[in-house]
């Protein structure tokens, strides 16, 4: 209404002006009054209020994202990537009876020579999970072996000595501290140097070392045992790398043992698994406890032929399955090995299979690539498990009876088979399955443990495991942060934020423990860090597809904002244009008037 009332006076003024100053005044190009600002201000205020409201709107449609510590994640992953995790290690060489030639050189000299030798043996870029800033000490312990009470030539002397040394050394030194020791015994009657690594954290070398030539050899030996055996786990080239440790992301491992009767119409074999579980597997499960939460289950399956064919070898009088075809041995169509309900989530299942061939392919032997036959008659598949072929003793004497008998595998056979499985499990964990290690300076005998894993091997595994877990945790968190940053409209719940935070805390704790050399705690916290990181990454809310995309937002709001903004902007532009034009007119009139 106000505008309508305003308008006529303007015209009247103009009309009166026209009458009086018709000669000078051109209504097309000039005006006498100052153009009004009212409408311009109005449209501008609308426009500006829209602009001001825009952040509010954006705030209101914002989705909830728990703040993630991106900086910490980046620093962690860069810390892990830039420097591999190394543990401090302590080594000690004990001389029982020092030879005369060596007595001249002091302990410090020996220490130095061993240290320098070891540094040469260490690779320039140490792999993850090995030792750094190691210390070597040399001591004289003349009374160490005085308590020995058994004849040296008795067959199980090595085992006896091992246990004896463990007891003595634990008494003498602080058993809490993890120190790797080599005991050197000078025995003139032994020509060659004989090195044995025990089940615990020590080894011994005996032999004639009084000769000066042997001094360097002995130092070499000691350094090699320290570096290659105690630090690197006596690994050789070609074994499974530590990154492929068969432990699930939640730190669980299920060992699933399967007895497969290829064709029960020929014969049916059964086993007494309960006994095996109690006697052979329980110590292994116990030994692996610091590494993984191991559970054992078993089943017997029938009608499970292998999926590839073997050929009959007359010379060997057996069916031969060559290693070329090994990838086709496991018949995933017929072998319903099944994951178990015990292995829920992301735990790892290792399948161990005893395959009993049918009478048509019995006896069955596996042929190695070099033409030899596999002694264990089995093979492993990394991260999957192992297979052992067990030929029925009734193989050659096929009875024509219609009814198959149900046999039981003899306990002797079972024991042999499960020893193979223990070896396979060690291989799957990346350890050696045979009992000696050949280094540059000679052969080292490795005493096997009845628990399947010796203490120093477990140390190696736990170091590697910690390192691998941390690496995995770092990469998982890194990809999580990249994902979250790349999808700005993804909802992130508080739980994920918490999991990431705890995972980071655990990772930091691991790093701290690792630098202090506390293996067990480091291993545990690294497991926690990894599983939390994986939990966060695989959280169902993160996986959901229906996150609120920007396109969606645009599609919902554009029907309103597009037409309205068109109106507002055009109105502002027009008003502005008009105002300028009118201003010009007014200026023109003024110039004429003056």
């Amino acid at each position: 209404m106000a505008e309508i009332n305003d308008a006529p006076p303007e015209d009247q003024i103009k009309d009166s002006d026209r009458k009086s100053e018709s000669s000078k005044f051109d209504p097309e190009t000039m005006r006498k009054t100052k153009p009004g600002l009212k409408r311009l201000v109005l449209t501008l205020s609308v426009f500006l209020s829209f602009l001001l409201g825009l952040p509010l709107l954006l705030k209101s449609v914002e989705i909830y994202r728990s703040p993630l510590p991106f900086k910490d994640i980046d620093s962690l992953s860069s810390a892990i990537e830039s420097s591999t995790i190394l543990f401090p290690c302590h080594f000690q060489a004990l001389f029982v009876n020092i030879p005369a030639t060596l007595s001249s050189s002091s302990n410090q000299q020996l220490e130095y020579s061993i240290y320098s030798r070891m540094q040469k043996l260490f690779p320039t870029t140490p792999p993850c999970g090995t030792c750094s800033n190691f210390s070597v000490s040399v001591t004289l312990e003349p009374q160490l072996l005085n308590g020995l009470s058994r004849d040296r030539n008795s067959p199980d002397f090595d085992d006896y000595l091992d246990d004896y040394l463990d007891a003595v050394l634990n008494k003498q030194f602080n058993s809490e501290e993890k120190v790797y020791r080599v005991v050197v015994v000078n025995r003139d009657e032994v020509e060659q140097l004989r090195a044995v690594v025990g089940k615990y954290r020590h080894a011994w070398i005996e032999g004639m070392i009084s000769n000066g030539d042997y001094e360097m050899a002995m130092v070499e030996r000691i350094a090699e045992i320290f570096v290659k055996v105690f630090v690197n786990g006596a690994k050789e080239e070609g074994t499974i790398h530590g990154e492929f440790m068969p432990v699930g992301a939640d730190g669980k491992l299920v060992l699933s043992f399967n007895l497969l009767n290829a064709d029960p119409r020929d014969w049916v074999y059964d086993w007494d698994f309960q006994q095996i579980d109690d006697i052979l597997l329980a110590p292994i499960v116990e030994a692996l406890k610091p590494l993984a939460d191991v559970s054992v289950e078993s089943q017997v399956l029938y009608h499970t032929p292998k999926s590839s064919f073997s050929y009959w070898d007359e010379k060997q009088a057996s069916h031969v399955f060559s290693s070329r075809d090994l990838p086709f041995f496991v018949n995933s169509n017929e072998w319903h090995l099944d994951t178990s309900t015990a292995a829920g989530g992301r735990s790892k299942v290792l399948q161990f299979v005893v395959y009993i061939p049918s009478s048509g392919e019995c006896p069955l032997s596996l042929q190695l690539p070099d033409g030899q036959f596999s002694l264990a008659n089995g093979f492993i598949s990394p991260m999957w498990g192992g297979v052992v072929v067990w030929n029925s003793p009734a193989c050659l004497t096929v009875s024509e009876s219609n009814k198959p008998l149900i046999h039981k595998m003899s306990s002797e056979d079972l024991k042999n088979t499960f020893e193979v499985f223990t070896g396979q499990l060690r291989q799957l964990f990346g350890l050696k399955s045979n009992s000696f290690f050949t280094g540059a300076s000679g052969t080292v005998i490795l005493l096997p443990s009845e628990r399947g894993f010796t203490q120093w091997e477990l140390d190696v595994l736990s170091r590697q495991h910690t390192c691998f877990n941390l690496l995995q945790c770092g990469t998982t968190l890194g990809s999580l942060s990249r994902l979250v940053q790349s999808l700005p409209r993804m909802i992130i719940r508080d739980e994920i934020g918490k999991q990431v935070k705890y995972s980071l805390d655990a990772a930091k704790l691991t790093l701290g423990n690792a630098s202090l050399g506390i293996y067990d705690t480091a291993s545990e916290s690294s497991r926690l860090a990894r599983s939390l990181a994986e939990d966060a990454f695989y959280d169902p809310s993160m996986m959901s597809v229906s996150y609120y995309s920007f396109e969606h937002c645009f599609a919902v709001y554009s029907p309103f904002f597009l037409p309205v903004s068109l109106h507002v902007v055009l109105a502002v532009l027009r008003e502005w244009k008009r105002y300028k034009q009118e201003q010009k007119k007014f200026a023109a009139w003024k110039s004429v008037g003056i």
Binding site: L42, T43, P264, E297, S298, P563, V568, A571
Partner: protein, 882 residues
């Protein structure tokens, strides 16, 4: 409707006959009396020495029967008012005397059985709902009776006195039977004295011997008080019987067994019922490692503490009318379409739901099915008593729309040690079994692992029930008379495969052919009629198969089913191998028409009402012939039929339970009169489904009954609509349980119960039938609607906003000036052209063009052109887009 003497050429038709007496008739061989309209009250058959069978059916007014003749097959069916029943003669051999009074001998008062020189037991099956109250009447006559009492709760039999106890094995069996079946039994008095002094044989019984066998049904332990004992070895016998009964249950080893039961159905189809049972001893005694029992199921039991579980995948609907509604297979293997899962957990109450949720996920992974949808609390319910009484630890859920196919069968087969590689399961040729009319694969698990005291381990029953149509072309063109022959079939023609020997791991593997009672009686009747023409009565091997059939493979034995006179033929497949596969042929010799035994009421459920707002559900129960005869019963008010109904309704069907109405014979009945017990848990939106459990008491003479419930259709959130929402929403099947009826075969041979399929068939279960699944159409929104709404509101807002802004900017004076100046100007060429064009039609408008009018009319033209253009475009769009 006439009473007739079938063997005689002439029929007697006497509607008003009240007293029928036949004495000393040489020619009478078979006598059948039937028809509800008969007024026959007394019947007496005496001294007819050639008589073979007496059948009395549906004679509602009959009060007494008296018969004196040995070796007569007596069949009594549906004689509601019978009060006196008298059998008297010298019975030397009694194996073949079968008295069968199949139902409703509720009025029986006196049953006299004079067996004077009896040597063995007459198996007399008296199936009554209400046991005659005065049991002592029996002591006058029967010493050697065997009653198969049904396990009804209403059993009031408390004292049984047996006089003239002799101590032979069959008598012990009888006592044993009483202790098992007599629920309320307090005393069994056994009196070895012969009361009739004329009997010389029993004179030497000096002492009176009384046994009180007291029974407590909780602990199922029997205390035997021996007051006075005779040195007759009775004690030893009794102990033997007791230990045998006790030792039946536990076995220390894992076991697996397989069986296949085949049954010809009246509508030219064949029922095949595979049954596999795996059994594992308890963990405490046996350990965690198994050789036969499937690992995954064992882990399931261990992880979720399952006490019982049943999972069924079904396709098709069991036809209760044609395929039978009153036998163990239909009761326990007829399942609602889709997936049905129920489980009883042995965990504290607050953990049951969590266990159920985890279980559904585990099962859905195990069986490749969407069972995990039962995890949602709107999808499952916890029935209190109507489904199964379980102390609140039962959860029940169904997925009516789940499609069942091979991906569900393969994991199911994986649980069998031989899978489908050997044994009976090789018959499961996928195209053949999925071609059938009904297909139900079922997994039933029961475990007492968590019982503290005794634990017999885990039992896993897997059944596959299919109804197949044999190939009709193989039957040939043989026509006998007007009716065509039933199709002949063989395992090979049904399944397209033969059995290559048994699964070597199975303890027993047999194929059975089951011939129902009605079929058997038709066959015998037909056989007798055509004896002249069909002289070649088939005798294959040592066993006689009914003459109307031809089965090339001789059965190893014939098993008579005790209580309904049906036959089972056993064919062991043990001795067959790949070189000599087993194939079972089944050929009909003449056309037979028979019908299956029906449930007392046939159940159906339907929807009423139209539109998308409201409707109502009705469950109708129609009486079958079985209870027809009760129509004219005099004292009908005592006879009542107990029916449990269990119905789960999803929350979006909002049932108003106050509208529950019961109609009996079309008349509305007050709810309080007919409903004995009702429990309702109303649905909560998006939280839980509604559950209705009720027990109806229907008078026996009712021809039909119906209950109806009104409901409103709810609205779902847009996220909650399933794919293809326009198809409608399923209301799961209702379950109707007939509380008074139990199914379960009875075998005279006790050793049969060790074979798993027989122990399952023997189980006494309440008769149950499932109704159809209902399809409720709900209002389904157009799923682009929200966006359309957004768009249109935004457009309105934008229009309003734009016009407001324009109005604010409006300069009235200036606009007027602008218009004036425009009018003075010459119009453009296009406008001139248009004016010319439209000027002709508008005529005078061109004559006097005042400036203002002209502008308005040109404006109108513009508008009109625009509107026309848009309309034309719209028409063209409509035309071309469709």
């Amino acid at each position: 409707m006439f009473p007739g003497k079938r063997s005689n050429p002439s029929c007697i038709t006497g509607k008003f006959l009240e007293w029928l007496e036949v004495h000393m008739s040489e020619g009478l061989i078979n006598l059948e009396v039937f028809g509800p309209s008969l007024s026959l009250k007394h019947q007496e058959i005496c001294d007819c020495y050639k008589m073979q069978s007496l059948v009395v059916r549906n004679v509602v007014n009959l009060l007494s029967i008296k018969i004196t003749k040995p070796e007569v097959l007596v069949l009594l069916q549906s004689i509601p008012l019978l009060t006196h029943f008298h059998v008297r003669d010298r019975l030397e051999i009694l194996e073949d005397v079968m008295l069968r009074c199949s139902c409703y001998l509720s009025k029986l008062e006196v049953l006299t059985l004079h067996f004077e020189y009896m040597k063995s037991v007459a198996p007399i099956d008296v199936l009554t709902r209400e046991w005659p109250k005065d049991i002592k009447k029996f002591k006058d006559s029967g010493y050697l009776l065997k009653y198969y009492l049904p396990y009804t709760r209403k059993q009031h039999l408390k004292v049984v006195e047996l006089v003239g106890y002799q101590g032979i094995a069959s008598e012990l069996e009888l006592v044993n039977h009483f202790t098992i079946t007599g629920v309320c039994m307090e005393n069994i008095i056994i009196d070895p004295r012969r009361q009739c002094s004329h009997d010389r044989q029993w004179v030497h019984y000096v002492y009176r011997k009384v046994w009180d066998i007291h029974m407590e049904h909780d602990s199922r332990s029997i205390f035997v008080f021996l007051i006075l004992s005779l040195a007759l070895g009775i004690l030893a016998n009794a102990e033997e019987a007791a230990t045998e009964a006790a030792a039946a249950s536990d076995s220390g080893e894992e076991e697996f067994s397989e069986a296949l039961l085949l049954r010809p159905l009246p509508d030219r189809k064949v029922l095949a019922h595979f049954h596999f049972q795996s059994r594992a001893p308890s963990t405490n005694s046996y350990g965690h490692h198994h050789h036969l029992f499937p690992k995954s199921i064992y882990q399931l039991v261990q992880k979720f503490h399952l006490q019982e579980m049943e999972l069924s995948f079904t396709q098709g609907r069991w036809n209760y009318e044609r395929w039978g509604g009153y036998d163990p297979i239909s009761t326990s293997n007829a399942k609602p379409p889709g997936v049905e899962l129920w489980a009883v957990f042995d965990v504290p109450h607050h953990q049951v739901d969590a266990s159920w949720k985890n279980l559904t996920h585990a099962l859905s992974g195990l069986f490749c099915a969407s069972i995990n949808f039962l995890e949602d609390s709107t999808a499952y319910s916890s029935p209190q008593w109507s489904f199964k009484s379980s102390g609140g630890k039962l959860r029940y859920g169904t997925l009516p729309r789940e499609a069942v196919c091979t991906e569900n069968l393969t994991p199911w087969l994986k649980l069998l040690p031989c899978r489908d590689k050997a044994g009976l399961s090789t018959l499961m040729d996928r195209p053949s079994i999925y071609r059938g009319y009904y297909h139900s694969q079922r997994l039933r698990l029961s475990s007492d692992e968590y019982d503290k005291e005794i634990s017999s381990g885990i039992v896993l029953d897997q059944t596959l029930t299919i109804v197949l149509q044999p190939d009709m072309s193989a039957t040939g063109e043989m026509l006998l008379g007007s009716s065509t022959l039933q199709p002949n079939w063989s395992l090979n023609s049904l399944f397209g495969r033969k059995v290559n020997g048994k699964c070597v791991l199975s303890k027993s593997s047999n194929v059975y052919i089951h011939l129902e009672q009605n079929l058997l009686s038709e066959l015998t009747e037909f056989g007798k009629k055509n004896k002249g023409s069909h002289s070649d009565v088939d005798i294959s091997g040592s066993l006689r198969i009914d003459p109307g059939l031809e089965i090339p493979v001789p059965p190893s034995r014939l098993i008579r089913v005790g209580d309904n006179l049906s036959n089972l033929y056993e064919f062991p497949i043990e001795n067959y191998s790949e070189s000599k596969p087993f194939d079972l042929g089944f050929r009909w010799k003449f056309p037979v028409v028979w019908s299956c035994q029906q449930a007392p009421l046939s159940v159906s459920r339907y929807l009423m009402g139209s539109g998308n707002e409201r409707g109502s559900i009705a469950i109708s129960l129609k009486s079958n012939d079985m209870s027809h005869h009760l129509l004219n019963a005099d004292s009908a008010d005592e006879c009542q039929l107990k029916v449990n109904i269990f119905q789960v309704v999803p929350w979006y069907v909002k049932v108003y339970y106050h509208t529950l109405q019961v109609f009996i014979d079309g008349n509305l009945q007050p709810l309080a009169d007919s409903a004995e017990k009702i429990q309702v848990s109303p649905s909560e939106d998006k939280v839980s489904p509604g559950v209705l459990e009720m027990t109806l008491r229907l008078p026996c003479e009712a021809r039909s009954a119906a209950i109806s419930l009104d409901f409103d259709k709810g609205f779902l959130h847009i996220d909650e609509y399933p794919p293809d929402a326009n198809q409608g929403f399923d209301i799961p099947s209702a379950l109707v349980v007939f509380g008074d009826f139990e199914t379960g075969m009875h075998f005279s041979d006790e050793s049969l119960s060790k074979i798993p399929i027989f122990s399952k068939l023997q189980e006494r279960n309440k008769l149950r039938s499932y109704t159809e699944v209902l399809l409720v159409p709900l209002t389904t929104p157009d799923f682009s609607m929200p966006y359309n709404v957004i768009t249109i509101t935004c457009t309105v807002f934008a229009l309003y906003f734009g016009s407001l802004l324009n109005a604010l900017r409006w300069r009235a004076g200036q606009e007027e000036r602008l218009l004036k100046s425009k009018a003075s100007k010459k119009a453009g060429p296009l406008r001139l052209l248009l004016r010319k064009l439209f000027g002709k039609s508008t005529g005078q408008a061109q004559e006097q063009p005042t400036p203002s009018e002209q502008s308005s009319s040109s404006f109108n033209y513009k508008l009109m052109v625009k509107v026309l253009l848009v309309a034309g475009l719209a028409v063209a769009w409509q035309y071309y887009s469709t």
